[in-house]
Symmetry: C2
Subunit: 386 residues, 2 copies
Amino acid sequence: MRDVAIIGIGQTPVGEHWEMGLRQLALSAVQAALQDAAVERVDAVIVANALGGNLSGQNHLGALVADYVGMAGVEALRVEAADASGGLALRQGYLMVAGGAAETVLVLGVEKATDRTGSERDTALTTALDADYEAGPGATPAALAALLMRRYMYEHGVTLEQFEGFSINAHANGATNPFAMYRNKLRPGAFAKAPVVADPVNLFDSAPEGDGAAAVILTTTERALDSVPHPVRVRSSAAATDTLALHNRRDLLFLTAVNLAAGRAYERAGIGPDAIDLAELHDSFTVLTALQLEAAGFAPRGEGWKLAAEGALGRDGRLPISTFGGLKARGNPLGATGVYQAVEIARQLRGDAGENQIPGARLALALNLGGLGGTAVAHVFEAVGG
Amino acid sequence: MRDVAIIGIGQTPVGEHWEMGLRQLALSAVQAALQDAAVERVDAVIVANALGGNLSGQNHLGALVADYVGMAGVEALRVEAADASGGLALRQGYLMVAGGAAETVLVLGVEKATDRTGSERDTALTTALDADYEAGPGATPAALAALLMRRYMYEHGVTLEQFEGFSINAHANGATNPFAMYRNKLRPGAFAKAPVVADPVNLFDSAPEGDGAAAVILTTTERALDSVPHPVRVRSSAAATDTLALHNRRDLLFLTAVNLAAGRAYERAGIGPDAIDLAELHDSFTVLTALQLEAAGFAPRGEGWKLAAEGALGRDGRLPISTFGGLKARGNPLGATGVYQAVEIARQLRGDAGENQIPGARLALALNLGGLGGTAVAHVFEAVGG
């Protein structure tokens, strides 16, 4: 398969964009990415979106977006796997270039999450869960995250306070990201006192859903080196699944899909977790961040939380994560999240991350989850050129 | 890219399966396909589905299906492009094998269309259209098909009666297909007198939505020749888009996406339309069938309807279509349709189509549309071995 690289990136701020619909959000990110890559057309458009059908009455987004960005005719599709849509769309785009089906591909993540509120939005968000055994009986993503967190605290003897480092770090990084939904810093001690969402998950623990769009342009690394100063190589790509329903998992506190996806991505890249300079994890809930650190080989079982408590995840730490705020502070644009992660990592590896720059970063990992880890997508990115 | 072939097929009857949910429908088709291919696991699962999020509260179907069919861990995704989901999922599966990302891929189309009725179902079906400019103001797929049909009749001097051959042919073929939703034959003359849905589109003109699931297993042709007696080669694959909103099209009566997708598929296969022995078209409305015949090179502009009137589309005609009933009689399982088409064509090219067999068929075309042609997917299949 051919070597693949990112040659263009674009993103809109994550937030409440009541003045823009799906197509306008898409256009703003796509225009930025095309301009950045200095290309006008691509061979294929892949759109990641989780809830257009539920919240905007709009499915069939591949063709809609292709047309609205001025490329009607080009092949296009939508990829959906709840919040992991973005990562999987990136993987399909990667495979189209790697396999020789396309020379250039646009991968777009777009989501309108804030037009509907209350039970309409809650119902839509639960479509990521098992409809028959979880959503039907009334479970929500936050309720299930609470169940995981409670069990984690019990099994590993961790207190709520000991998770605060994850959110403090995310907000510290989001504070200097103009695309972030929340740019306030979190005062130490505030975390454990935040209003409860689903005990023990609280407001400062769970990531806010937001509207947003992010786009990347992919091509072969060979072409990329000829066309842009700092292409970002997609060194490896992998995905895996687990049961959607938590009750079917052999081990509640081990994210099997993350372990498989990250393991495959490391193997395909010929590296281990030690080689990773920074990571964008799917920090929709702090317990998921802890579990991802463990499943992806950054911490032993039951010790993922320690990395946050020890300050290892900050910009100058051993493994910087959520370097632009993560889902917690940049915001969680659901199906677009995986593409935001790729855009943010590209900025880091280009050395174009401004105040958020991790000095000398060459290899980065993105982990994107669907639901509570039913889908996991892992990508390893590498700085090339320059 | 590597040569790709179908080594296993499975399908459930299309109809009202109130006793089965998405996962049960999926399992029944997947089990049949795995058994047919004599394989137990695959490297990737691609699920085509249009309305799970809207009608069953279930998105995130890739992981759900992978788990339910006993393959948790494997990578999986859902592809969506309204009714063209199945064709695009097949294309992504084809590309994964062709490009070397996977040795075997399961492509599943699954849809639950009948659990909801009335406005709930109607609203879901319009998510294939442009939400802002078509569905919002009240247009439905049938209303837009009526607009196309009225214009077609006016421009080309065709009467309603002259479309009846399409539906008579579809029902004649569906009558001997145990998987078909409607197995009644249509009496000549009945078509033009059927109850009106959206003038001039009537009940015998429009395809009924149904529940269903169909699955194919793909691998390299090289492996296929070693493992099954009659593999079916995917000789070429292509997709294209057009505007969703009809009012944005330069020419209402020309399906640009079909023309592009079919043209690319012919070019990649190194053939022209004359080489095609049979075709499965997306006959959700008869006017779309006429327009597809024209855009795909089987008839000059304005003359697609003549093929039906002349009897050229029957089992012993020049270009047999809807050989198991098409969407009209087999039923329209929305996002699963493109996979049903592949299954039916595989049966024909294996010589395993029973009473519906087209003698000596070697090359077949599948055209799968999203909405009113916003997305078009074309595949050319070829009999090999035997």
